[in-house]
Symmetry: C2
Subunit: 95 residues, 2 copies
């Protein structure tokens, strides 16, 4: 792979991984995740978990790391979303 | 790459790509994107555009296709978000 290719790939991986941080911060601040789609979060979490598995199968630590971090951040969003839906979620939201 | 690796990778790409569909549907239905982070959408869009560029550099049509579709779906979400923020966005939202 060219140096340009590697640089573009690493920047792309960095952007798609850190992109969830402002969303997590927003949810923690507003304590709201109503407009986020639970189906999106669940499908995305499944996809990211599979990417981590793909990284393990191919021994690619860049894919493992990027997607594991994304999965952790997405887990935060899922916590909020599930907290809004479950009947006892209100207590979690106010904590 | 093993058959297992290819299968896991393709399933992972499929999940992370289609995951935006339920979010786009939700936004079109509720006409609301208030809880979505604009910073997340912009960073994610930058990352996806770079993945498409990465695909072109490496001649990898799977990466190009998956990320171009994601970028298109994310563009829909950005339209909603920007429509909420801009002063003339109200008209767009009610259209």
């Amino acid at each position: 792979m060219t140096v340009l290719g590697t640089a573009v790939g690493l920047t792309a991986a960095f952007c798609t991984t850190v992109s969830y941080i402002p969303q997590v911060v927003k949810c923690w601040k507003t304590r709201k995740a109503g407009d986020l789609s639970l189906k999106m979060l669940l499908t995305l979490a499944t996809g990211l978990a599979l990417w981590v598995a793909y990284g393990f199968i191919n021994g690619d630590w860049v894919i493992i790391t990027a997607n594991a971090v994304s999965l952790f951040l997405l887990g935060n969003l899922l916590l909020f979303k599930v907290g809004e839906i479950l009947p006892w979620g209100g207590n979690f939201q106010r904590r």
